[in-house]
Assembly symmetry: D2
Homo-oligomer: 320 residues x 4
């Protein structure tokens, strides 16, 4: 192992830059050269990269986004695309590749590992936390904190107006963000894609709260639960209360990473380089039982991480 590559792919997440820095500096301390492929898989398709050195990854630890930039690359989803990427790695004598990204990127990493002689290691980096095999992904904690700071502010208005708010948070398929955000802002109702919601139950909760003298409320809803505008109208109609909708948007993807996202980035970056040095490819770095470890990429891609539904019940108890 003398030369490795690193690529950030898919949606950006806070801590991607910290991950790039950690991979680069740990690798250099072990005598490795590091190529940073640019604009996600596109960089592997077009052989576009820059040499990463301890110096030129300085000053990025705390910045959101990714200095390598990223993209969603349809071409890479074809066999020809993956083949071309494998050729780029061979052309540049890249012995190992660190893939930094979420669900789709890790699937891409698995495909690439089948066609390339280079060892491929994934680092789970996504605000969605929806990756099987790791308790947490780089970026998740940052996105949660961005959302709760925003919702704490909305709570001011909810309380001042005795009003109910639906706050739509990210999460098209999975409710990890919505559940953690809901638990930590004290949401009266949490709606996740994994559980079909019952309008009757929502309205029941709001009416119970009203009877207790709690006239405002926050409904945290993952974007994947359906049309929140429609939900708003339904609640207004059934419950006879004014409801407002606030969509926490793309800000959740950006911003300076929190300490925890930075720490995971550091630990994951180090682990990824160690795996490559030990000639272990086709794996994803992971956090399990509080410890940094790794897991087979195939296992990651063929399983689905489960939401802890017992937390939904706790959230209800805590929002009484």
């Amino acid at each position: 192992m003398t030369r490795i590559g690193v690529v950030t792919s898919g949606g950006d997440a806070p801590g991607m830059n910290a991950t790039i820095r950690a991979v680069t500096r740990v690798a250099h301390s072990e005598g490795l050269e590091v190529l940073g492929f640019e604009r996600g898989w596109d960089g592997l398709l077009t052989n576009t990269f820059r040499m990463l050195t301890p110096r030129n990854v300085g000053g990025i630890l705390h910045l959101g986004g990714t200095i390598l930039r990223t993209s969603r690359s349809p071409e890479f989803r074809t066999v020809e695309g993956v083949q071309k990427a494998a050729e780029t790695l061979a052309l540049n004598n890249v012995d190992g590749l660190v893939v930094v990204g979420g669900d789709g990127s890790l699937r891409g990493a698995l495909e690439l590992s089948k066609m390339s002689d280079a060892l491929i290691v994934g680092i789970p980096t996504t605000i969605d936390n929806d990756i099987f095999g790791t308790d947490e992904t780089v970026g998740f904690d940052s996105a949660v904190n961005t959302a709760i700071v925003e919702i704490d502010k909305i709570r001011d208005t909810a309380n001042s107006h005795d009003r109910v708010f639906i706050v739509e948070v990210m999460g098209k398929k999975r409710g990890f963000l919505a559940l953690t955000i809901g638990l930590t802002v004290g949401a009266e109702v949490i709606l996740v894609p994994e559980v079909e919601y019952s309008l009757k139950k929502i309205v029941g909760t709001l009416e119970e709260n009203d009877a207790k003298g709690k006239k405002s409320g926050i409904i945290v809803a993952a974007e994947g639960i359906g049309d929140t505008h429609k939900l708003l109208r339904e609640i207004e109609e059934k419950a006879g209360v004014e409801v407002r909708l606030s969509v926490t948007g793309y800000a959740q993807r950006g911003g300076n990473p929190t300490a925890r996202s930075r720490l995971l980035a550091n630990l994951f970056g180090k682990k990824a380089v160690e795996l490559l040095l030990n000639e272990q490819g086709n794996r994803m770095v992971a956090l399990q039982e509080g410890k940094v470890t790794s897991i087979d990429l195939k296992e990651v891609c063929s399983n689905e991480k489960q939401l802890d539904l017992s937390l939904m019940k706790l959230a209800q108890t805590l929002a009484t």
Copy 2:
């Protein structure tokens, strides 16, 4: 003048609590009693208030929302409603009333001043900054800062993905928020309700930027400019680029006030009490040429504050 009232009305804004505290403590230092009417005009319609003292307004200076709560009161918009409010003031021997709120609240204050013997003084408190006669309102600076922190994060993602974002900010009728936010985040395009937008010009700007190598962009759009989803589709079609929409929501109304919003709250609160002590009613406290002064409420309500369109040009120059 021995007894005054204070009421917060309309949409809440950061600094309302600071204003309540300032009015209460300055009034008490002058020997006045202070009644805090609850839930906006509703408190005057239903004679619901609490006595405010220096002690019970402690610990609220830095909090968003309003401890007196607020509401939009349709009944108050009728002659009978205003009459009832005037009677409540008389019933409680209230000699002066400080009305803390935005456009609608100040109009209400003017109506009430016609029917009540109590002297009425308004304090312009709204995130919209759309009040004639004052250069700035309490809450505006806070809302702007909440928005720019959010947009700075979105810029991370825009840059990482070479993507254009439309960021919809508050402002149904007026573009004060959008213009200041746009200028301070370096928006490539700013759209305000006061100026009809030209799709062609927007697309032209994006294309020019692209030619210069600036592939990402932020379009700050006031909510009042029309359907931003439609705008998104139009730009995507015409410019052939991917565009994302992020709606900065109600968080702009809440949250801890900035230093400037707190300072204005302090100065305006003091001025309002001074006006009442000098038996000057029917006025609004205002910031003019950097100084705290006051203006006739009638003048406030019969004029429209103008957006400084020269700043639109500056914004364009600065975003090249």
Copy 3:
């Protein structure tokens, strides 16, 4: 178990209020009454408490400090003091007590458990993270994030002036805060009380960095490492560079808790009530291997949590 008490003791930490809320609401959902003792152990010495209900712990989840207030109580450190506290519990028919605090508070809890029939359960809540048996304490993540936001700002000035800063962070005896903060801000040097520092090594690192073209630097030092003013003068003298000192102060103790501190507070609060319902006393709630569990209070108080010194090496590698 029909009646429990809760007390916050020692230095305050972000998440204490969230913990009070969680204990109260979970307990009520199980039919328990909750007494909140005020001002730390003083409340048990003077029988000062208020009844906590789901309603009166509303709106505090996101607030720093503790609504029950806290104190350091010398009297409680005597046998008579502990005896009196035990009597207060008996007097009020308190069957279980949840002690929310750090090192000293948990020792107090252990002493009290020896003299009282009430079951005692501790919840580790301290910014210092120095409690044996739990991987993390409520409040630690918040303090770390407050510090890194501050140090990110100092880095701006360090870079602009090519200057070295010593940033003193909290931690009289232990370096958990300093180490995590140092790792997540990319500190060039991290100094902890557990490891005697070598002036020569510090100066060597700064000189190496200077040779690499890295002219600014951040030295994160726990307050317990000795006199940082003296250290500053020594470095200036030996290294011939200008050094500035910034002491991150008490702000680390306060402020709104982060998502992680809130989440731990929720989970720990629930676990504490469950232990009491299962008649398990003399225990501390803990996070171990990513899961919420509990541990014998005696074990907590007779062992010392170890700093992971391998992270010091990682920090060095990452700051090259």
Copy 4:
């Protein structure tokens, strides 16, 4: 006027980068070339600069510090130093120079204007707000907000412990920061260098507050008032209460600028270029009566801005 220079000098302040960007982009839009001298006056002494273009000042609007870096240059304080700087301007055919900085930098600008044919314009950029002739400087609002966010957190601890805190804020000679910070955090006592403090009066205020049931307190003290450690001991002794000291440090200088600092940077940058285009040198851009204007540099340097002491009285009334 075909070629101008820009230099940032003295202590850095949030908004310096925004100012560099504004000067550069406005100048380019008028057909001017822009040289950015590096490391403050040192850049003029050593003829070190880079060409600034609209592209290479992109992405810096929201960043603290200064990309041109800064320094305090003893050599420039000599006649020979100023002479050399003037020669550098002549050598590079620089027709106008924008000096971005505080008190010392503006004095330097004045000296330089006497020896150089280039027109010199200053932009007041300092967190201290201590520049005669302008109501506000770029950076002041940012520093105030950084401090109040920190002090709001300290207030949590003060309240939880019924404790008095001295918070030392920046301001060696002048109390502008301390006064505005004190007013906006509701400090019980504000100490500024302009007014000698009376221990007796401080203790009296604390005792009065204690009698009113207000057991915690915040004393905001400018660093220039003397030894705050000593003050702490004196208060503890006289008042018989526990006092803690927290020194808000260099973080006030850094961090992303607030909206207001960015706006001033934009407006001041534009005005500076306009002055040069109108062949007006030897002036400083200024905010007066809410409007951007300019003032003779000599007048700036020969007068002292006065603190509005009436605000001290208001602060007292508001903190009752």
